[in-house]
């Protein structure tokens, strides 16, 4: 009995101590937690006038994968620099043309099981993502009434050739809704010919509005604010629910916007760093255009 009593007394004392400690420790832990969260130092641009050369204004649009992923915890300046070097080395061996979401492309990859050891796939680019050597894009096509999507890594050594058959943009940033659209909108012949674009002309925007199949869908498209889709024809309650899920204040969140981008000065520094390779990149773009112009001459 005595032992139990002593134990309970000790337990009570321990509890009181623990309570006291919890307060102080809680305080310290909060302090530690705030101090431990990653702090991002302000960016200091390099001040070297000799290196500054003219950066073509549209490079960040044409080569978005040269900009690193802006998440500060995942950034590593040295790795990014080495990756850019490797990307340029790969581009000097296999030119990667300019393309956008909605462009129709053909990709040839090495495939040990294919007849000629290569496999060529034609499709519309529905999504592109990631930066550096891990950059990828997805192509979609409907073959034998079967929708097919293939994700290609742009800098993979298995990719042998990337062609752009029709260079154009669409109204949306992602065309994932083509999965729920009528198959006619994502059907492209595999023997499609390269289409001609006037040299120096801006990249055309295709204003096509696709017709979606009736529900069920892969996603709630009525909540995505899609531009390239015809009237969805849903009952009123769907739009009411979509209205509830809108976040109209997000466009005013200046820091959220900032954390999702690479600042102007840093972008300038990155494109300054690869400026000695501009002739290579520019010649790839020009070659692509010449290819598109040649059929009109013949």
């Amino acid at each position: 009995m005595v032992g139990v009593g002593a134990r309970s007394g000790a337990a009570r004392l321990f509890g009181v101590l623990q309570g006291l400690c919890r307060e102080t420790w809680g305080c310290q832990a909060r302090g530690v937690a705030t101090r431990a969260s990653t702090r991002v130092l302000p960016f200091i641009p390099t001040q070297d006038p000799d290196v500054i050369r003219k950066v073509p204004h549209d490079f960040r649009v044409v080569y978005p994968e040269f900009l690193p992923n802006p998440v500060p915890e995942w950034r590593n300046r040295l790795r990014e620099k080495i990756e850019r070097k490797d990307m340029l080395a790969r581009r000097s061996n296999m030119p990667i043309p300019e393309f956008y979401i909605g462009s129709i492309m053909a990709v040839t990859v090495a495939d040990p099981n294919a007849a000629g050891k290569t496999n060529r796939f034609v499709g519309i680019c529905i999504q592109r993502g990631d930066s550096g050597l891990r950059a990828w894009f997805s192509l979609r096509n409907v073959i034998d009434h079967q929708g097919l999507e293939i994700k290609y890594e742009m800098y993979s050594p298995l990719v042998q050739n990337i062609e752009v058959l029709r260079l154009e943009k669409r109204l949306d940033d992602e065309l994932l809704y083509l999965r729920d659209a009528l198959p006619i909108y994502s059907t492209f012949p595999s023997d499609m010919e390269t289409e001609i674009l006037q040299e120096g002309a801006p990249v055309p925007v295709n204003p096509i509005k696709v017709q979606l199949k009736p529900r069920p869908w892969h996603e709630r498209w009525e909540r995505k604010n899609l531009q390239g889709v015809r009237d969805l024809g849903l009952p009123e309650r769907f739009y009411k629910k979509a209205k509830l899920h809108e976040k109209p204040w997000e466009k005013y969140d200046l820091m959220k916007e900032y954390r999702a981008t690479i600042p102007e000065e840093e972008q300038a520094d990155i494109f300054r760093e690869i400026s000695s390779h501009y002739p290579l990149l520019e010649s790839t773009r020009r070659r692509g255009k010449r290819k598109r112009v040649l059929p009109s001459l013949s």
Partner: protein, 177 residues
């Protein structure tokens, strides 16, 4: 998709920021958090010096910096910037102050537009870290004492003695020659 947003070109913020935003709990959710930040930014632009909790001050600082930077970069004829100023400043006369006073004040500045001082907290009390957030170039007396030791009496005497020594040496050289 793990790619930097390329639609907008944003100048770099010149202060240290947190990698992630702080989630200030608010009954109105993320919108309420932003309204809270807006209140602080409005106060800062209006009063030029505000005392507040450190966490809130540090978070609001980034928004104030970005607002001023965009006002300097785009001017008052740029519609999105004007909309942003309209959202962030609750009192509409402050929109004029932002474009006509602050943007002009910081036009040629190469450093940050705001300053955050750590402030002491009262004992006993809630042990929240306190801070004072202020706009640089405000009309108030400086918060931090001048730490220069140039005007200390022994430094003035030493300086005089040094000058005298140099004069004496020069005179000696002249007499030798």
């Amino acid at each position: 998709m793990n790619q930097a947003e390329i639609r907008k070109l944003i100048p770099a913020v010149r202060v240290v920021i947190n990698a992630k935003h702080r989630r200030f709990s608010n009954p109105k959710g993320p919108e309420g958090r932003l309204m809270m930040m807006r209140k602080t930014v409005t106060e800062l632009v209006k009063l030029e010096r505000v005392e507040l909790n450190y966490q809130r001050g540090d978070e609001a600082r980034g928004y104030a910096e970005r607002l001023i930077a965009s006002a300097i970069k785009n001017g008052d004829c740029h519609i999105p910037t004007m909309e942003m100023a309209n959202y962030w400043l609750n009192e509409k006369q402050l929109v004029h102050k932002l474009f006509k006073v602050l943007a002009v004040r910081y036009r040629d500045s190469t450093e940050s537009y705001t300053k955050l001082h750590k402030a002491p907290n009262k004992y006993p009390g809630f042990f929240r870290e306190k801070a004072v957030l202020e706009l640089k170039g405000n009309p108030f007396p400086p918060l931090e004492p001048n730490n220069s030791s140039r005007n200390w009496i022994h430094n003035i005497l030493l300086e005089e003695a040094h000058q005298e020594y140099i004069k004496k040496k020069l005179k000696e050289e002249e007499t030798d020659n």
